[in-house]
Amino acid sequence: MSNIKKAFENGKAFIPFITCGYPNIATSEEVIKTVARNGADLIELGIPFSDPTAEGPVISHANLVALKNGITTDKVFNMVKNIRREIDTPFVFMTYANVVFSYGSEKFISTCRDLGIDGLILPDIPYEERDEFLDICHKYGLDLIPFVAPTSKNRIATIAKASEGFIYIISSLGVTGEREKITTDISDIVKVIRENTDVPCAVGFGISNPEQAHEMAALSDGAIVGSALIRKIDEGGEKMLENVAEFVKEMKQAL
């Protein structure tokens, strides 16, 4: 059992996603600290990948810019090490299977434990392929966070029964990115999850404003926000960190 449980003990969980190294390492380090200090219950740290097939245009772009500016897996680890001196908010890494696999899954996951990372989110690892990562995650005390999608249907019960950490509910078909309206019946999905597990669930993909965050968190245990936060970073300016802080506070309050 990891620290992820704690993230869901302070009311509905606000879970921001941040692409490490975007737009550069120094800035993303400050953004992560700011987000942690202003109400994030759990932070999803994205390790950039050259071909992020689950991401929409905003996060895809962030991945490529971060890579262009020199981020590597080792540099992400170093950055997290620095952040951990000041911040004890639970962290999970979100990245693609090849980033973990190519580093050496055991070396990657044992480093995660040393850095105080509580879980892994791998969007290209479905239930059927999880064993090769799950066993190592358990060895080092990390949770492997499963996904449930609007198309999961008969799979939800199986995934929920085997879940740990939290369940990431994908709000809509397609890739990450803001949506005007989320049309999936989240409450139906949550109902099946609740029937099969006590593990909390949070909704992501397409949540861009406090109203949507409130609506999604009301149906589940938390809300995950990625692209909208990257937009705050992109708006930039001298007050960027203040704007990010304000956005996180608003989101957490809205839940």
């Binding site: 071909d51 895809s60 090849n98 190519s102 059927e128």
Partner: protein, 396 residues
């Protein structure tokens, strides 16, 4: 060979987002239901024979054989199929399957444009909607094929992300599939991606080796000694190899694109320079950096310009059943010109990679040996690019 959950040795698998899992399961179930269905197979055979023009010729390249002075060279003329390449074999199979599944829309990725054209063709024939994703770089290299797809009634989406080539087209097609699953079949063009695609594509392409076997026995009274084919994702090669995998006397050789050379960064020779990884739904070999970032590969051939290789090829390499060799741009262009001049057959620049290796290997073999080169496609689409390679300022 184990095919449990689509594994070929350690390769293959289903490394895809949860959103797509039920879609690939539905596809697998449908495929298992129809693959041995006599009615389905009769329909497919009719399409292959009466629409695509199968069986394709096994042509004895006598002048080439005499010129090289070694093994007898046969060309399996997939270039003579309707739409000019082997791609139609797989596309007709998948489109028919999609129709049986009640899908009304096909999406596809394309590199050189051959698979895109084949998919657009099948969509026109079946009255289905069609959207083809093509790297922007490739839309320039193969402008004529873009227009051809539009002529056939398809939309072509130029992909600007990443390296704007084949891998990025696959990324975008996969993303599009996650957006719209219920009415859409992703008609994947090579023996790659998540299970069941590598198996489905191989089965639909295996007609190539089935015919080679029958034709070679009829003409020569024995099996070929060597079968060779170019390998990007590897669909024409797996089609040419499949019925010979259990014939140990037949040597199988895949010809990868070395680009400017395997000791440069401008290469697409995955087996030669790649390492084991997980990408595009499969475990296989990929060109990548030390942190697993997929490498920006290069080849003069848009169809071989892909950083991975199908999982069955990765396994055939592991177990030593097939050899994979790397052919440079220069060698391929020379072979392109040589075959045109010698046999009056203009090969696709992809297929010219296999011709190039035959030119190296044949002179080292006895005259009673037989090489079959799978001529996967015709080269009309490449003429302008080859002219430019030779310094002539020709545009389509």
């Amino acid at each position: 060979m184990s095919e449990k959950r689509g594994r070929f040795g350690i390769h293959g698998g289903q490394y895809i987002p949860e959103t797509l899992m039920n879609a690939v399961t539905e596809l697998e179930e449908a495929y298992n239901r129809y693959k041995d269905d006599p009615e389905f197979n009769a329909e497919l055979k009719d399409l292959l024979n009466n629409y695509a023009g199968r069986p394709s010729l096994l042509y004895y390249a006598e002048k080439m054989t005499k010129d090289l002075g070694g093994a007898k060279i046969y060309l399996k003329r997939e270039d003579l199929n309707h739409t000019g390449a082997h791609k139609i074999n797989n596309v007709l199979g998948q489109a028919l399957l999609a129709k049986k599944m009640g899908k009304t829309r096909l999406i596809a990725e394309t590199g050189a444009g051959q698979h895109g054209v084949a998919t657009a063709t099948a969509a026109a024939l079946f009255g289905m909607e069609c959207v083809v994703f093509m790297g922007e770089e490739d839309t320039k290299r193969q402008a004529l094929n873009v227009y051809r797809m539009k002529l056939l009634g398809s939309d072509v989406v130029p992909v600007k992300s990443g390296t704007a080539t084949l891998k990025d087209a696959v990324n975008e097609a996969m993303k599009e599939w996650t957006r719209r699953i219920s009415d859409t079949h992703y008609c994947l063009g090579s023996c790659m991606g998540p299970h069941p695609f590598p198996t489905i594509v191989r089965d639909f392409q295996s007609v190539i080796s089935k015919e080679i076997k029958e034709q070679c026995l009829a003409k020569e009274g024995k099996l070929p000694d060597v079968v060779m084919a170019c390998v990007g994702g590897g669909s024409n090669a797996i089609g040419a190899f499949y019925n010979f995998i259990n014939e140990p006397s037949v040597q199988l050789i895949g010809c990868e694109a070395a680009g400017r050379g395997i000791d440069t960064f401008e290469t697409a020779a995955t087996v030669a320079v790649g390492k084991l990884g997980i990408f595009h739904g499969m475990k296989s070999y990929f060109c990548q950096d030390e942190f697993g970032q997929i490498a920006p590969v290069y080849s003069i051939s848009a169809g071989l310009d892909y950083p991975g290789v199908g999982p069955e090829h990765a396994n055939l390499h592991d177990i030593g059943r097939a050899q994979y060799v790397a052919i440079t741009d220069d060698e391929a262009v020379n072979a392109f010109e040589y075959l045109s001049r010698t046999e009056g057959v203009i090969p696709a620049i992809e297929s010219a990679h296999a011709v190039a290796y035959a030119m190296k290997l044949a002179p080292t073999m006895d005259k009673d040996k037989i090489i079959v080169v799978n001529l996967s496609g015709r080269g009309d689409k490449d003429v302008a690019a080859i002219a430019r390679y030779r310094g002539e300022d020709i545009y389509e």
